[in-house]
């Protein structure tokens, strides 16, 4: 397979997006196998350092997804997460980290097809952008030197 197959890591909350992805499965909606899902209790738990860690370890794209506003299983975890994302995204942009590779989304437990859409469009977008060499190199090159 010569075509570039990106590595995409999805950080999702247990109650909405993980369940939504389960529904994608039960509905047998197909999507790209390039994504790996990491389950968190809530988007509020998702540490931004895991995002940079994922890039450094070779991810080309990241999906962060949880419950829609007001639907958080824990009421407000997603609101704090959203604020953190806003600031983190700003910092990434400022530091030249490619935020087109980080897709934030709300996928509820009922949105099986939306989940497939998110994965597929992210996959296509990342294929267009190519491997995230500039960040990967940062972690590998220098260490080898």
């Amino acid at each position: 397979m010569s075509e570039f197959q990106p590595k995409i890591v999805a950080f999702v909350c247990n109650w909405c997006t993980y369940a939504g992805a389960d529904l994608t499965g039960t509905s047998r909606i197909k999507y790209s196998p390039n994504v790996r899902i990491v389950r968190f209790p809530c988007t509020g738990r998702i540490d931004y350092m895991l995002l940079t860690k994922a890039f450094a370890s070779g991810a080309d794209g990241i999906i962060v997804s949880g419950c829609h506003p007001n639907d958080c299983h824990y009421t407000s975890g997603n609101f704090y997460a959203r604020r953190r994302w806003i600031v983190f995204k700003k910092l990434c942009d400022f530091m030249g980290i490619d935020t087109r590779r980080i897709v934030f989304s709300w996928v509820s437990a009922a949105e099986g097809s939306k989940w497939a859409d998110i994965v597929n469009t992210t996959n296509e977008e990342i294929i267009k952008l190519g491997p995230y060499d500039s960040y990967h190199k940062l972690s590998t090159q220098d260490i080898l030197e």
Binding site: Y48, M49, T52, K53, A56, P69, N70, S76, F79, Y80, R82, R83, R84, W85, I86, V87, F88, K89, K90, L91, D93, F94, M95, G96, I97, D98, V103, F104, S105, W106, I118, S134, L138, S139, Q141, D142, I143, E145
Partner: protein, 267 residues
């Protein structure tokens, strides 16, 4: 100046404070922060334009921690740091006697926290034009240029952590960079380790940085790292109408939310 000395001397003499935190003359025509514990030593206390260091940092040091009362000669930056430290439950009002010094170098007398809040609001704040210009310059770059700019800017970093040591807000007993299970931040001062370290520092200071510039001043290799947290504090002010160092009770942009926070980037 005499007024500052008078206040300091009285506070020590009346045993209201055991330590006065200020500056004294250093070597080679420089000034250095100093702890004064005796009223008679106050003669050595100075304040001039060279006294720009953010000495609020020392409030968290043992000498001050063990004292029942501490007085501090406080420029606007120091006052803002004190308020933010108070908001983060690191110091208490009963203990701290702020001897306010305006940005013009005039004594503003003893400030309680309420007065300090007012003082903080009236003193000039916000980014300096040169910092703003640098931020704008970076923002005008392309994504790749920005990335290269920062990788390049961080490359001389030797991870001496002077930035952390000089920052009054970096008061954690155990910094995350010293956590090794898991090893969040690589210890080595290679490109990756440097980028992640400075990124983490900027995130930790988001909404908490009071823009004193101490990190930049203390950096032995002149990394403009203050720009990162400056940019974020400006952004947080714009976006969430929240500003560090104005309030002595709890404020932190990232420990709060509104239902209407911008979400145009979320699918």
């Amino acid at each position: 100046m005499e007024e500052i000395k008078k206040i300091a001397r009285e506070l020590l003499a009346e045993n209201k404070v055991q330590v006065v935190l200020g500056f004294e003359k250093g070597t080679a025509n420089k000034v250095r922060p100093a702890f004064f514990t005796k009223a008679e030593d106050i003669d050595k206390l100075i304040y001039n334009e060279a006294c720009i260091h953010n000495i609020a940092l020392y409030l968290k040091k043992d000498t001050c921690q063990h004292a029942k009362g501490v007085a501090i000669t406080a420029t606007p930056n120091v006052v803002r740091s004190i308020l933010q430290l108070s908001a983060e439950n690191q110091i208490t009002e009963e203990k701290i006697h702020i001897i306010g010094i305006t940005h013009e170098g005039k004594c503003a007398g003893i400030l309680d926290f309420k007065a300090a809040e007012e003082f903080s609001k009236t003193q000039p704040k916000g980014l300096k034009p040169e910092d703003k210009a640098l931020i704008e310059k970076i923002q005008a770059m392309s994504l790749e240029e920005r990335f290269d700019y920062w990788v390049e800017a961080f490359s001389p970093c030797i991870k001496c952590y002077a930035c952390r040591a000089s920052c009054p807000m970096c008061y954690c007993g155990k910094c995350n960079v010293e956590t090794n299970n898991p090893q969040w931040i690589p210890v080595a001062s290679h490109k990756y380790g440097n980028v992640e370290w400075h990124m983490m520092r900027a995130m930790h200071l988001a909404g908490r940085c009071i823009n004193c510039g101490e990190c930049n001043r203390s950096c032995p290799v002149d990394i403009p790292l203050n720009i990162l947290s400056y940019m974020l504090s400006d952004f947080v002010l714009d976006e969430f109408d929240s500003e560090a160092g104005l309030n002595s009770v709890f404020t932190s942009a990232l420990s709060a939310y509104t239902v209407v926070d911008k979400e145009n980037f979320i699918k």
